[in-house]
Symmetry: C3
Subunit: 162 residues, 3 copies
């Protein structure tokens, strides 16, 4: 096979895109559990959204930072919590991408006992911006048997602006 | 150091292989929990195998899709479940690869309570095909103290056709 | 955009570094649960450290292998256990890197019942050596509400020798 600088650069760009998307999502859990709402909100675009189905929806970086800085999350942090994510299945479509995967919040119950407090499905929609890939929408729904949660995990829907 | 198009292309190919293998495995959980047996079975080769030690063994895409479309899995989905995987340790050997890692099935018990229902070891064997990397064998065993499960996690065995 | 061999090689190197770091960390869980202390200790540098805050600190490969070969870990393995890690948020800084993320130890209680036995925060510090990236320090702290654990997850501290 003959290679050109252009063809190699294109293949490299695809890997860099996947790496950037995975990195944005991998930062979520550590930032949530260190309580850094400001840095966490920078994973989203200016007017990005975080929708926790049946619980809360936040639009814009201020509102997203607010979820982390609010009383609920602070109380969880003080008890002890871990926002663990699984690997994400990424679909790239030019400057848009979707990433689907699980998240589990472990909660410390005291005396070194933990429970799986929330087990959820996630569909992240990301967009390439001048400053890099950012989240434009994250939908999260409890995997408690509801169809909505299962739908977030199906790849039949191509990346699109929600 | 001097670089040639050929040496860069070779390094790029290795990264693309790792990315493809990770991507195949990252799709498993979301496809299992969205109930899409047909799409899930496409992660395997035509006559690929999925062996759940002491529980079931499925050979071929039809049989693998059947695990997801069968009554056991459908009942679990209706209650609420999450097939969470950990990161995989990948060994590449030309057109064969192995990937070792953990999987956890969380089950919804009702009222937003979850349990870690199965905690297992996995050894995936993958092969490069014309259409890309596909699973030829996945072995899964419960980490309940049995030696079989621990053996799946040891890298002392090079990638090979099971 | 014009590309040069040099610029492509540099971009490739960055991806290879991230891949190598992720791979080192992805090997930890499978090696711990297969009980291979010797191979596990090779993920660290000669005099690398593994600090489990409030529990144990091991310096050097012999001591790190000893954690896996000691009575505590062997007893856990015989009961059944899984060292599951989450994705890591990596910061590269030349020949140093940090990686932050969660780890969960599941313990088999008998009869196929499991508990989340330890849920912890981790900050890995890695260094590029002639033989590749290796861990020079891993700090692990239980996410039981203590500030120490949350601090391990904050990216405000650049990669540095602990």
């Amino acid at each position: 096979m003959t290679h050109s600088l252009e063809s190699l650069a294109e293949r490299l760009q695809r890997l860099e895109d996947l790496e950037a998307i995975r990195s944005i999502i991998a930062q979520y859990g550590p930032l949530a559990d260190s309580g850094d709402g400001e840095a966490l909100s920078q994973l989203w675009t200016d007017n990005g959204e975080y929708e926790v189905v049946g619980f809360a929806a936040a639009q814009g970086r201020g509102a997203i930072a607010g979820l982390i800085e609010g009383a609920n999350h602070r109380s969880l942090m003080c008890q002890g919590c871990a926002h663990l994510l699984g690997p994400v299945a990424i679909e790239l479509d030019g400057d848009l991408a979707s990433a689907r995967g699980h998240s589990v919040i472990f909660r410390h119950l005291g005396d070194g006992q933990f429970e799986a407090h929330r087990v959820a499905a996630n569909c992240w929609t990301l967009e390439r911006r001048a400053e890099g890939w950012r989240v434009i929408h994250r939908a999260n729904a409890l995997l408690d048997g509801q169809e909505t949660a299962r739908m977030l995990l199906t790849p039949r829907v191509a990346p699109h602006r929600p």
